[in-house]
């Protein structure tokens, strides 16, 4: 949580996502291509809209294959959208040419999930963290590069920094590596950051420390933050507001605490009920929904959740529910709420 009590206005919307859609064409064999008329597509992200406010941590929560990672990548234009806009501080990112996109990337950064894969094994820690500064040419002298690297390592409790800068990634533990990845992302003082499951590869005792550092960094640099995770319990700890995704759609969106304490969408309800709690005496409501997530190539008609929903009726099969506002800063896409 960064700042709960801050009053937001329209001007505080740093990132505005409008009707963002991404279909991936499905790879087929040669014969299949000849036989079929239309190329089948994976409906990864289906016309979603949301805004991320200034200095807030916004969470995208969902199971694997719900489109949360694709959404994160679309926001940074690491994949091109099929439709829709991403407006970052008044500029439509999807319409920028290559040159201006490169300049824009200075202000938008990403942290990846696996610190064992995301760091170049042949570069020293210094070079890894300094790379964005060098590419973007933001430091005038090598001395300045050095100062910035030292500063960011100190911010991340890698003390003394001199002990780390000459090492290589394989000499560090998972938690240390992830801090390096965080440092590399923050060194350009970005205004917007996407973090794709940054804590899921870390052990519990290390994870909470890195979580604390992440929140501190977001605060320090006044950065807007998109936190992508499958772990709704951790999202509760990290995020000011969340959006729950299911099969490419946002099914519920609003402030984290209200969604977690009073979920409205049947899917959110099931997702929360399924999370184990570290307390053997806790009494849980058992809402275990049946079956598994259907294929995103032929998503179900109407509400995409109707095949697994315990409350589904005829309407749910025919008509897709719209994301409607039920209270202040609370949106649900379900026919139950009209």
């Amino acid at each position: 949580m960064v700042n709960k009590n801050l009053q937001h206005t329209e001007d505080d919307d740093i990132v505005i996502v409008e009707g963002l859609k991404k279909y991936f064409p499905l790879k087929m064999g040669f014969v299949q291509t000849l036989m079929s008329k239309a190329t089948p597509v994976v409906h990864a992200v289906e016309k979603i809209s949301f805004t991320i406010k200034k200095d807030e941590i916004f969470g995208l929560v969902g199971e694997s294959g719900c489109g949360k990672t694709t959404t994160g990548r679309l926001l940074l234009r690491l994949v091109e959208p099929t439709e829709g806009k991403v407006i970052f501080k008044g500029t439509d990112v999807t319409a920028l040419d290559e040159q201006r996109m490169r300049e824009m990337r200075r202000r938008m950064q990403i942290i990846f999930q696996d610190p064992y894969e995301s760091l170049n094994p042949r570069l020293s820690i210094f070079d890894i963290v300094a790379e964005p500064v060098r590419i973007q040419r933001v430091a005038k002298t090598e001395q300045e590069v050095h100062e910035r690297v030292i500063q960011v390592l100190e911010d991340l409790d890698l003390i003394p920094p001199e002990e780390y800068i000459y090492r290589f990634p394989h000499e560090l533990s998972g938690g240390q590596r992830q801090r390096i990845a965080i440092g590399r992302a923050f060194i350009l003082h970005p205004e917007f950051m996407v973090a794709d499951e940054p804590l899921s590869m870390l052990d519990a005792s290390i994870r909470s420390e890195v979580a604390r550092l992440l929140i501190e960094m977001v605060k320090k640099f006044n950065c807007s933050f998109l936190y992508i995770t499958h772990d709704i319990a951790l999202a509760r700890h990290m995020c000011d507001r969340i959006a729950v995704m299911y099969l490419g759609n946002i099914v519920e969106r609003g402030s984290t605490e209200t969604i977690i304490t009073k979920p409205k969408h049947p899917y959110t309800e099931a997702l929360i009920a399924a999370v184990p709690v570290p307390d053997p005496t806790a009494r849980r409501t058992e809402v275990i929904i049946k079956g598994e997530v259907p294929s995103a190539v032929n998503p179900p008609s109407g509400c995409r959740f109707h095949t697994r929903c315990p409350y589904a009726w005829d309407l749910c099969k025919k008509e897709e529910p719209k994301l409607i506002q039920t209270e202040e800063d609370r949106f649900v896409a379900c026919h139950k709420y009209k």
């Binding site: 052990d203 319990a233 184990p276 053997p280």
Partner: protein, 320 residues
């Protein structure tokens, strides 16, 4: 006589750089029908302890002492052949970590489940396949899927297939090594529900190995918390989770965010787990412990039972 009693088990791995003390003086016990959770972070020796019980150690793993009494018989004294023929799968079976990759990709799942039945009980293929169908029904996949191949199944179904396979020869003890990692929460809840039901129905005993304390809290009735090759705390889940005595257990439980109740600050433990090639002297947790005293740096704490309970802990702070 306990159903399974592991006493002072020591198992080290031989490496180029010396002996890695993966399991160092580990003791715990369980009764029939218990679900024991073996919890700890990566590299704490939980999987190594399980492999030692199963007699499935890699070539460089050597047992240096202790005993594994299974219904009064020391498994460490049995030769390899007896372990293979009479114990493994017939009495003790295992669900391996990463069920996604543990299945043979071009054999039907029915055939894979039937394989141990034919090997251990000498049944004909047809009979074995019939039992495979019953097992698939039992784990909720359905007998009709007996001819399916692993690539046709989703992650959750593969996990259930692994469970069916572990149950093929009616074992008494099933060791499940991280059975739900890589599964989504809803699927995880489904798989755990099936396991809990099966445990009751078949009067199974389960050793559940996981780094996820939340999952252990919901599934196991006894817990052993491991740190750096040692058991730091052991007792019933309610005792350990409600009244954790070891500073490591306290911090570790506090490090898991809960979806229930009010939001709390997450506890974090400074530093990193030690290198098991040269673990710190005294209590292995002392370099990271907030309450470390002088004695913790020199003298290793022994497991001691808290008066009047089956809750034991190895910490110098307790019993002072």
């Amino acid at each position: 006589m306990a159903f399974l009693e592991v006493q002072n088990l020591k198992m080290y791995f031989e490496t180029m750089r010396g002996w890695v003390r993966a399991v160092d003086d580990v003791s715990f016990e369980m009764e029939k029908g218990d679900a024991l959770g073996l919890a700890g972070e990566s590299g704490c020796g939980k999987t190594s302890a399980a492999l030692t019980i199963l007699g499935l150690l890699p070539w460089n793993g050597k047992v240096f002492g202790g005993s594994i009494m299974y219904k009064g018989e020391d498994l460490l004294k049995l030769d390899k052949e007896t372990m293979r023929k009479d114990i493994r799968w017939k009495k003790i079976s295992v669900i391996f970590q990463g069920a996604m990759n543990a299945l043979h990709p071009n054999k039907s799942i029915g055939g894979q489940i039937a394989e141990p039945i034919m090997a251990h009980e000498g049944l004909k293929k047809e009979e074995a396949l019939n039992r495979a169908k019953r097992l698939l029904d039992l784990v909720g996949i359905g007998a009709s899927k007996v001819d399916r191949y692993p690539h046709e199944l989703s992650g959750g179904m593969k996990q259930r297939t692994m469970t069916a396979m572990a149950l093929a020869c009616n074992p008494e003890l099933v060791i499940a090594d991280e059975p739900t990692t890589a599964l989504d929460v809803i699927i995880e809840a489904q798989v755990l529900k099936v396991m809990k039901e099966l445990q009751k129905k078949l009067d199974l005993s389960i050793i559940l190995i996981s780094h996820d304390l939340s999952m252990i809290a919901e599934t196991a009735n006894k817990v052993a918390i491991m740190y750096a090759g040692k058991v730091s705390e052991f007792g019933s889940s309610v005792d350990v989770f409600k009244d954790p005595l070891h500073p490591y257990t306290q911090k570790l439980i506090g490090a898991f965010p809960s979806i229930l109740g009010t939001k709390k600050e997450l506890a974090s433990i400074h530093g990193f787990p030690p290198d098991l090639l040269a673990p710190p002297p005294g209590c292995r947790f002392h370099p990271r412990c907030a309450y470390a005293m002088d004695i913790c740096k020199t003298k290793e704490p022994q497991m001691q039972e808290v008066a009047g309970s089956h809750h034991s802990v190895s910490c110098h702070l307790v019993g002072k």
